[in-house]
Symmetry: C2
Subunit: 296 residues, 2 copies
């Protein structure tokens, strides 16, 4: 299967499984339930499940374990977008061309939907039928996910982003911010798959994590570049919103050409990490290209 077809398949499988995850909830609080569904299914590109599957296939991890990891990661990702979009945070009305959760529903429901999705991430992973090998690693998986989601990851990154908005920060601080805000969850994908892989040596694990860190940061640099050069229609949200908010961005820090050089450098670093691996890394190379060459 070529890479584009694989991505399509991952999208469909992920959408179907997430839909089922919501269907399986009782019907006590229908508005909250639909807000959670909206948050999970509003046109995600499913980059993280794709990464999980590409690395999982490379490391011969059973499909069921891959799927459990992907579901949990997507719940965390979806919750973070819902809360980031809130009026008190980035105040975004549109995401991927659709109304954000607090616009489609209301602010209280959006706060709760985010909260419930975070809990769902942990309960789906705590309850998922895993392989015997992965079952013994369940605590470790949950630990990695919780760390990536919390103060030491996404929440910490978002807090630094908020306090540094409108202020000058160094390039190092900007990288640190995005390593936490965006990078931590991508890194968690790789780490979680590594944990349930039965024969991954520590050098290869380090190379895979280096790859994750490089593409995680590259993803954000490209995001910043698209905010400057992208097309609002393709982005599904207004271009230029970072600048309007006074956010620290790579183009603001390095100039647009400097940001593109940084993107290329990160991409090359990621490819070098892959070159050290004793696996066929074609799909990991394709994944990194998908991230850095995307136009939305």
């Amino acid at each position: 299967m070529n890479f584009t077809a694989l991505h399509q398949q991952v999208k469909q499988q992920t959408d179907t499984s997430l839909n089922t995850l919501i269907d399986d909830l009782p019907h006590d609080a229908p508005r909250l339930k639909e807000a959670m569904r909206h948050a999970l299914l509003v046109g995600g590109k499913r980059m993280r499940p794709l990464l999980v599957q590409v690395i999982g296939n490379t490391l011969d991890v059973p499909k069921g374990d891959q799927m459990a990891i992907s579901m949990a990661i997507e719940c965390v990702h979806a919750y973070s977008l819902v809360h980031d979009d809130l009026p008190a945070m980035d105040d975004d009305d549109l995401r991927r061309g659709q109304p954000t959760c607090h616009i489609a529903f209301d602010e209280a429901t959006a706060i709760l939907a985010g909260d419930a999705l975070q809990a769902l991430a942990f309960s789906t992973l705590a309850d998922a039928p895993l392989s015997d090998f992965a079952t013994n690693k369940r605590g470790e998986l949950l630990s990695v996910l919780a760390r990536a989601a919390g103060y030491r990851g996404m929440c910490g990154g978002q807090a630094i982003d908020l306090t540094s908005t409108g202020e000058e920060i160094s390039l190092e601080q900007l990288k640190r911010l995005h390593n936490l805000k965006t990078g931590a969850l991508l890194r968690a994908c790789v780490e979680m798959v590594s944990i349930v892989s039965q024969d991954l040596d520590s050098n290869s694990k380090a190379d895979l994590l280096a790859y994750a860190d490089d593409i995680g940061l590259a993803f954000q640099v490209q995001d910043d570049i698209l905010d400057v050069e992208g097309n609002s229609e393709q982005l599904g949200k207004p271009a230029g919103s970072d600048i309007a908010l006074g956010k620290n961005t790579f183009p603001a820090k390095l100039g647009i050409e400097g940001a593109k050089r940084e993107l290329d450098k990160l991409h090359q670093n990621a490819l070098q990490a892959l070159a050290r691996l004793p696996y066929n890394t074609d799909s990991l190379i394709a994944f990194s290209e998908l991230l850095v060459k995307r136009d939305h």
Copy 2:
């Protein structure tokens, strides 16, 4: 040690341990870190850690396992209060006589502090050094906590509370709402301690859970009664706020005398469940009295 002294000890131990939990976080996002500390330490009565310890001692559960459960439960409880107090939710400025998190900090920080505290609940439980017996049950503990925190518990209850505010609901629906919103986390305390207890038979477990359900609902009925009859100063928040918000309450449904009869009935049911247990239940009796006879 008498029960009051035990409660004091639990309060001090819990405060100290939660403070250390926050101290141990890196210093990347100091404002978020202090908001999390504020949320965790703003004068909590530590009813849930007390319940964990009382049941844990009754069932001979090691102190370390009790403490791990209590820390996680308090993180979930604290996060839920921060989010419930937000302007889009109950819009409360005061809690226990102190400014709520979004007043002491700001709304974005309060949202993030709640989010990060929820993640911290799971990471502290996933990482805690547990007894060997409890280590094998870690996935189960995390599952129970996630269920109680999420759509099937607290978040679902809060959503039903929001959508039913200003509308007439039945007594059964009101009970269901509070079984989810307040009861689920108290029940989770009992369930988690039961999971790590080595010799609890299924009948006794059922009786303990019945006790938890009864006192959980009694706790809420007493809360509603205090909102009508209590003293704002003792409550640390304005009395009458439920009525002002158009909330469904037990006194609104049953009259104040009817609510008191309901409280007494629930208390008697809880005591009957205890009477069936093959343990010394003095401290569990004392705990139920603390809940129903409190004046704040």
